[in-house]
């Protein structure tokens, strides 16, 4: 491992002023971008950082908590966060944007999917899947001593929302919702069950390495519409809302409101940044499943897609 790689893995990486500027930039102060703890976000952020560097800006990457980072974005200690998921970060984002100190820089082009999910081998025990109406027949399959005779559905952390208890009630599902406290705990259970080829029903989201590494399917609920969540009379259950699947939504970019004034060129490049789910899925797989370094994967992508990112900078 070279010294440079060591530096990169140290996670708080200062980008100095050594690079020759390719273009005239508005300010040579470093643009601080936040890194979180999932691979997709590291890739998105590193791509953006490298593109901004190519355009002559100085960039500093700072390790920050997904939600605690808003404290920094509001004061201008931090400048850019590349992934704010509609499905998990909406409340914090709305609150921050309402203060006028943080702005939404538009979609990353990726769409977040989250839904009930099961490994493919479960289908042998519960042939009616993926249709949701088969779930009640298979409650025994997914039951544990704590939940029996009801099935066990492992939901995301409480903070992810998602209205699963409401969904269970509205659809009359014979299931108990157990909340995993974190993403890591959620997928640890999946890995454990997968090793034993044991039945499991849980919340999975994409883009993520898990649905790529593990063979499985989303449960098919009645399709989400806005009315389903708001209007009790809509859908199968005439008396309750939430009798449908989960919404899918964009992954947003957010920034400190001052970015557009201080580095207008960078701001427009960040707004222009766009990448789709499949491309990102491929890059995540290169890192998480094939063991590549984030920096190398990003360099290769930049090399092969120069036209794409040049357009962000120049457009």
């Amino acid at each position: 491992m070279t010294f440079r790689n060591l530096m990169a893995s140290a996670a708080v990486v200062a980008l100095g002023a050594g690079a020759p500027a390719l273009a005239q930039v508005e300010s040579s102060d470093p643009i601080r971008m936040t890194l979180h703890d999932w691979t997709g976000q590291l890739i998105t952020t590193n791509i953006m950082a490298r593109v901004l560097e190519e355009a002559g800006y100085n960039v500093e990457l700072v390790q920050a908590d997904y939600l605690a980072q808003f404290a920094g974005l509001k004061t201008g200690d931090l400048h850019v966060a590349m992934e704010m998921w509609e499905t998990t970060g909406r409340e914090a984002m709305d609150e921050a944007v309402a203060t006028g100190t943080v702005v939404n820089m538009g979609s990353t082009g990726m769409e977040a999917i989250e839904e009930w999910w099961y490994p493919s081998y479960v289908k042998e025990l519960c042939p009616g899947l993926p249709d949701w109406t088969a779930l009640n027949d298979c409650a025994e399959v997914f039951a544990t001593a704590e939940t029996a005779p009801r099935g066990r559905y492992l939901g995301g952390p409480v903070t992810w929302g998602g209205f699963d208890p409401e969904r269970v009630e509205a659809l009359g599902l014979n299931y108990e919702v157990i909340h995993a406290g974190t993403d890591a705990a959620l997928f640890a259970e999946l890995e454990s069950a997968y090793q034993r080829q044991a039945p499991i029903l849980l919340w999975v989201y994409a883009p993520h390495w898990a649905p790529m590494q593990f063979d499985g399917e989303w449960v098919e609920f009645p399709e989400y519409t806005a009315e389903c969540y708001e209007d009790p009379s809509w859908g199968i259950n005439p008396d309750m809302a939430f009798d449908c699947g989960k919404p899918r939504g964009p992954i947003w970019k957010v920034a400190w409101a001052g970015v557009a004034d201080k580095w207008p060129g960078a701001a427009s490049a960040i707004e222009a940044f766009s990448i789709d789910n499949d491309t990102m899925g491929g890059l995540i797989a290169l890192v998480d499943l094939e063991g590549g370094a984030v920096e190398d994967v990003v360099e290769d992508w930049l090399w092969e897609n120069e036209d794409t990112w040049r357009a962000w900078v120049e457009g």
Binding site: M1, T2, F3, R4, L6, M7, A8, A10, A11, V12, V13, A14, L15, G16, A17, G18, D37, W38, T39, R50, E53, V62, Q63, A64, D65, L67, A68, Q69, F70, A71, G72, K74, T75, D77, L78, E91, A92, E95, A96, A145, E146, L154, P157, V158, T159, I178, H179, G181, T182, D183, A184, A185, L186, A188, E189, S192, Q195, A198, E295, E299
Partner: protein, 682 residues
């Protein structure tokens, strides 16, 4: 000092010296509690009694809005005329940042410009060879070749297992946080020793620092100190300092009377008495505090990495996010290696400075012939690194890894023994944990209030009773009753289990030198290995839920029970041991009749710390889906709701303070009964 009669020491809590009616107080209270827990659902159905069982909503007031308003004022508007509060804290942050940047320059970065392919190194940091040589020499200097080999081995582990760069980032923040924590802790501890009034004012603050989960005040800290390593350092010091203060005060109080009198006789000023006599005399006890500061600082590594400290904590999080258990364990063990090496070094230096200097009169250089050699190693390895990179940074090709081993170990256990583990878990869960949780949740809140107040009154009189009642009322009025009872259930059970395992281990550790070392190493590992590392395998084997949370809490909170028990047993006055030997005690009698009873105050202090650590684990257990106060704090953090976070954090602190005060009062009574006056008596 009077020798306690054995039958006194082993007397039941309601000792024989009390009037008959009071002897029945606790058994009756216990029976009533059981009956009420059972009958509460029936009582609740009766009209007009509901408010006695469940906290009535009219009683709950919105304190969160007030906290939110105060924090908004503090962060955005508070000022001292010339400058705002935030400018003050930013100034402090700047001051702390200077030594930190210096440490990073030396250990991590050197002077580099650019990044990735364009990085240019103008001046390298100390090479791995130089740093390993330095710590090894320090080990030799402080404790001989054995310690040198141990410390050198720990640092070689970091290099060989590819943890070097991250470990140096972590080390840079530790070498800044620990001196701050120890120094401030010592000063506050001395002040508390000198002024009982200050001591009383400080204790609740310490409890708050140690028990309000960091997630509760993380957001304001980030506002005040900026986003990055300095905020993480501040949070680390806040969390790691309290044991140092407590230990300092206790240690100064337990300096033998003769030494105090000696200081008075030779005419010491107050400052001389403190710094030249009492502090040196209390040094062995103080080192327990230093040990705790180092251990707790390294404990914060994970949370610190979430707010920009980077380093090993970030590697652990990152590995576990990908369920790379092996990588997580390696990075976690690197934290342990760093912690243990630093701890042993500091302990050895303390022992060394307690010895009289051997060769006085010689110049510093003559006494430290190794110093020039060390400088030479540092410079030469740096220069060599310019032409031969492996001398500067340990090459990737030489690194080894055990990742596959760990992953397959967990996999093997999972595939082959899951059913047995599941059966064991279900038995405990269905027969003990769930009934206990139901029972505590069913208890009428008015009865809990009465019971805690009664305990306060019996152990410490009207003042303590008033405090206990006020704190219980706070929890009820904050609308936190249910999560608080779940907290009580989870932490209470975990502490009982930790004590059942920890006290015997402590006895074992005190029984022999070798056992002490092995157990010491074991609990150091447990306390510094980030709980995240074992939380993931635990979840894989036991699923998410209370059981997994309980295992994590027990593992983490075990350490002080062991450590304080061992320390208490070792520091039983030798004249008592001799008295026992003279009167022909067997080994067993010695333990049960003399050593254990005399160590009870120390063991209680250990249990107290166990409770504090268990409560501080709540935020981590929230990550595996518990529904306690920790979860409230965690939810508040994810919503950036300072009000909810701080109120829930104060709820945790209220439980902690009740436990602490009751135990302290109990310990004081025990001490008085044992005739151990002068120990911690204020």
């Amino acid at each position: 000092m009077t020798l306690a009669a054995p039958d006194h020491a082993t007397a039941s809590p309601a000792g024989p010296q009390r009037p008959g009616a009071q002897r029945w107080l606790w058994p009756v209270a216990l029976l009533l509690t059981l009956a009420l827990g059972w009958a509460a659902p029936l009582l609740e159905a009766l009209p007009g009694l509901g408010w006695l069982i469940r906290v009535p909503s009219a009683l709950v007031i919105d304190m969160q809005a007030a906290v939110r308003g105060f924090m908004d004022w503090l962060v955005n508007r508070a000022h001292f005329g010339l400058f705002t509060f935030r400018e003050l804290t930013r100034g402090i942050a700047w001051l702390v940042d200077q030594p930190y940047q210096a440490a990073r320059f030396v250990l991590v970065e050197g002077w580099v410009e650019g990044r990735g392919a364009r990085a240019v190194t103008h001046f390298p940091p100390l090479s791995w060879i130089a740093i390993t040589a330095i710590v090894t020499t320090m080990g030799w200097h402080a404790g001989g070749w054995r310690l040198a080999a141990f410390v050198g081995g720990c640092f070689l582990y970091l290099a060989v297992f590819g943890q070097w760069a991250s470990a140096m980032v972590t080390l840079a923040s530790i070498v800044i946080a620990v001196p701050f924590g120890v120094g401030l802790g010592l000063l506050l501890g001395v002040a508390a020793y000198l002024s009982p009034r200050f001591d009383r004012a400080l204790r609740p603050v310490l409890d708050l620092m140690q028990t309000v989960p960091i997630f509760a005040y993380l957001v304001p800290i980030l506002f005040l100190f900026g986003f990055g390593p300095v905020a993480a350092l501040v949070a680390t010091v806040i969390y790691a300092m309290p044991p140092m203060v407590r230990v300092t005060t206790l240690a100064l109080h337990s300096v033998p009377e003769e030494i105090r009198e000696f200081a008075a006789m030779v005419g010491c000023t107050r400052n001389q008495r403190i710094w030249r006599v009492l502090v040196p005399a209390a040094k062995p006890d103080l080192m327990v505090g230093v040990n705790q500061v180092i251990m707790l600082s390294l404990n914060m590594v994970i949370i610190a990495s979430m707010i920009g400290a980077g380093g090993l904590g970030f590697d652990v999080l990152n590995a576990l996010r990908r369920l790379n258990i092996g990588a997580g364990i390696e990075a976690g063990l690197a934290i342990v290696a760093l912690a243990v090496a630093l701890d042993r070094l500091s302990q050895a230096y303390a022992r060394r400075s307690a010895r009289p200097p051997t060769a006085s009169g010689m110049s510093w250089l003559a006494r430290n012939r190794w110093a020039p050699a060390l400088v030479a190693v540092a410079v030469l390895s740096g220069l060599l690194g310019l032409i031969w990179p492996p001398a500067q940074s340990f090459p990737a090709e030489w690194q080894i890894t055990t990742r596959d081993f760990w992953a397959s170990l967990v996999r093997t256990i999972n595939v082959n023994y899951f059913d047995q583990l599941e059966a064991f878990k279900n038995a405990l869960l269905l027969n003990v944990m769930i009934p206990l949780r139901r029972f505590l949740l069913a208890l009428p809140w008015v009865w809990v209030l009465a019971l805690v107040t009664l305990a306060g009154w019996r152990l410490g009189g009207a003042r303590l009773a008033g405090l206990c009642a006020a704190l219980v009322m706070f929890i009820a009025m904050a609308g936190l009753w249910e999560p608080a009872m779940i907290t009580l259930y989870l932490c209470g059970l975990s502490v009982v289990i930790a004590a059942l395992i920890g006290i015997p281990l402590g006895v074992l550790a005190a029984s022999g030198h070798r056992a002490g070392r092995v157990i010491g190493g074991f609990i150091d590992t447990l306390q510094t290995l980030p709980s995240f590392v074992y939380l993931i395998p635990v979840v894989m084997l036991f699923r998410v839920g209370d059981f997994a949370a309980m295992i994590a809490v027990v593992l983490y909170a075990l350490a002080p029970a062991v450590r304080y028990t061992a320390h208490g047993l070792r520091s039983v006055p030798s004249e008592l041991i001799e008295a026992g030997t003279v009167s022909g005690c067997t080994r067993w009698q010695m333990l049960w009749r003399i050593r254990l009873p005399m160590a009870v105050p120390e063991i209680l202090l250990g249990i107290n710390q166990t409770i504090m650590l268990a409560l501080s684990m709540l935020v981590i257990t929230a990550l595996v889906g518990t529904r306690d106060l920790g979860q409230e704090v965690y939810i508040a953090l994810t919503r950036a709701d300072v009000g909810q976070g701080i109120i829930a954090g104060l709820g945790v602190a209220a439980i902690a303070i009740i436990a602490d005060r009751l135990i302290a009062a109990g310990a004081a009574r025990t001490r008085a009964r044992l005739g151990l006056t002068g120990r911690g008596g204020s």
